[in-house]
Symmetry: C2
Subunit: 357 residues, 2 copies
Amino acid sequence: MKNNYCVIMAGGVGSRFWPFSTNNRPKQFLDFFGTGKSLLRMTFERFRDVVPVENVYVVTNAAYKDTVKGQLPELSDNQVLLEPMRRNTAPCIAYATYKIRETNAEANIIVVPSDHLITNETEYVRVVKEGLRFVSLNDSILTLGMKPTRPETGYGYIQIGTGGGELRKVKTFTEKPNAEMAKIFYESGEFYWNSGMFLWRADVVVKAFESLLPDVAEKFEAGREYYNTEREQAFIDRIYPLCPNISIDYGIMEKASNVYVMMSDFGWSDLGTWSSLYDLSAKDWDGNAVLKCNAGLYGCQNNIIALPKGKFAVIDGLEGYLVAEEGDVLLICKKDDEAKIRQFVKDAGERYGDKYI
Amino acid sequence: MKNNYCVIMAGGVGSRFWPFSTNNRPKQFLDFFGTGKSLLRMTFERFRDVVPVENVYVVTNAAYKDTVKGQLPELSDNQVLLEPMRRNTAPCIAYATYKIRETNAEANIIVVPSDHLITNETEYVRVVKEGLRFVSLNDSILTLGMKPTRPETGYGYIQIGTGGGELRKVKTFTEKPNAEMAKIFYESGEFYWNSGMFLWRADVVVKAFESLLPDVAEKFEAGREYYNTEREQAFIDRIYPLCPNISIDYGIMEKASNVYVMMSDFGWSDLGTWSSLYDLSAKDWDGNAVLKCNAGLYGCQNNIIALPKGKFAVIDGLEGYLVAEEGDVLLICKKDDEAKIRQFVKDAGERYGDKYI
């Protein structure tokens, strides 16, 4: 276990859960389910029995430093990596990998988003342990593919190839499909959802960066004398702006030849939309999901109601709506019109500046 | 002017504006329009040029004493009359009248509710002055009839009789009519809305109580030695429970023979329902009335949105709804389904006790 490392990516902003999430309060820092724990905290605790606490690293935006340290007081300053700006996942992962390699050249690393939901933690832990064992023994990149439960068009898919058991060679990564294609993928049994979780050894991923993203590799290689020193942040602040804005999927996964997928099924959602949250939530007989608050619902079907704890909503005659309140903002809209939320946020920003977003 | 007195009835509870109004925060004490003044305060200030401030009396429930004194710091303790319990308008008016008569036997009194809206204050003041002049010269009871602007079924009507100018003998008082009858009333030009505002001399109304509600008269007559003394409250607390629960309309107005009506037109609403508030409010081009808060409305028609000041609502695709929030309660329902609000309040009380009502 001492060679196991975890990198939690917690730099996202994202307005899809507005007004629940805002620029100052991105999704990963929210107590989504009223359990008293943020998604980040839940992600962190999942590795309790897999990775020593001193081997857990969080990469976040410099602006969220205090939030991360507040939610994960177990971490030292050296374990909270601060991006001076957003540069997508490839630079983020390169930073963490190069830094960890300086500490432990034999590190087995799992990289995970900080804002996903996993419902079967026992199975998740089993899969992750098995995956870390696999990458410790093989010069391979491993990704976790989620067994699809519906023909979802909101996720990318991974086509599985040859191999035995739950571990397969990846045949191809696909973009988010249209509805027709999603149905074919779903029914084929050959396609798994791309969860954005990756496992590899530090030396393997460094080699992948060197061959597939050499200009990124070069930049982070130049920092070997700075990692884990007081000069690390200044170094990062200097090279980060020069990094390309590129995802690990596009930069590495889709191009590397040694990529494997573990066919997993541990109850996963990226909590990408209010609808996905609705799908996951307990509902009353009329299909209403009430989160955190109390509600008296009359003639209401298939709504999702999310008000702050202690609030009481009385709603009569709504069907298929989202009613969400946080801070000074109340949002009422059709719960499937989520593309609109981005517009609402944009409009609010134009009218009121940063006040409500 | 020194003989002019005003009695403001401020003892109402009422759940029709829930969650805006609650048991602890009845409508008259609310800053309805976000102007910084409660309806009670607005009512009080309307008499600025008609009644000396020391001649203004407020009758309220003992539970609201501090609220009244807080909103009307100009009043002395002797001007805030406390009912130990609700007993409708006849005992309330008898109390104030008998008390005022002890101070000034020639008092001309106007009795008004504390929770109505008047939009043309100049005309109101003219009407009230004219009315007080009339009752000072005549042994008559005068009521203010509102020129109807629509065939409203939510108000009682007064049929006007003989007389000249704006002052007429009352032919009959009617209950709230059905829609068909309201249309006939409205089109006839002979029917005015009963506003619940009365003007009379103290001695005239005492005589009316003596002949029409003798058991009420007897009780308050017995207090002559207590009014305006330290023993007044104990006396009231003793006799109030013994009073019948009866309205001044039923007990006096409908039965007295010397009742006149002043045909008035000063922009009046009893603010009895969310719909009446909607009718009075400024609306956008799509018929949405937004009170106090900010709102971004998309595909919304004919809604009334009332959130606390500083709140921001984004609403998409609602038509004809009420969205109201106050304290810990959010209410969303069809704005014309107001009878239901009483049910919502009742249900909330059964589930959560007094917490939300």
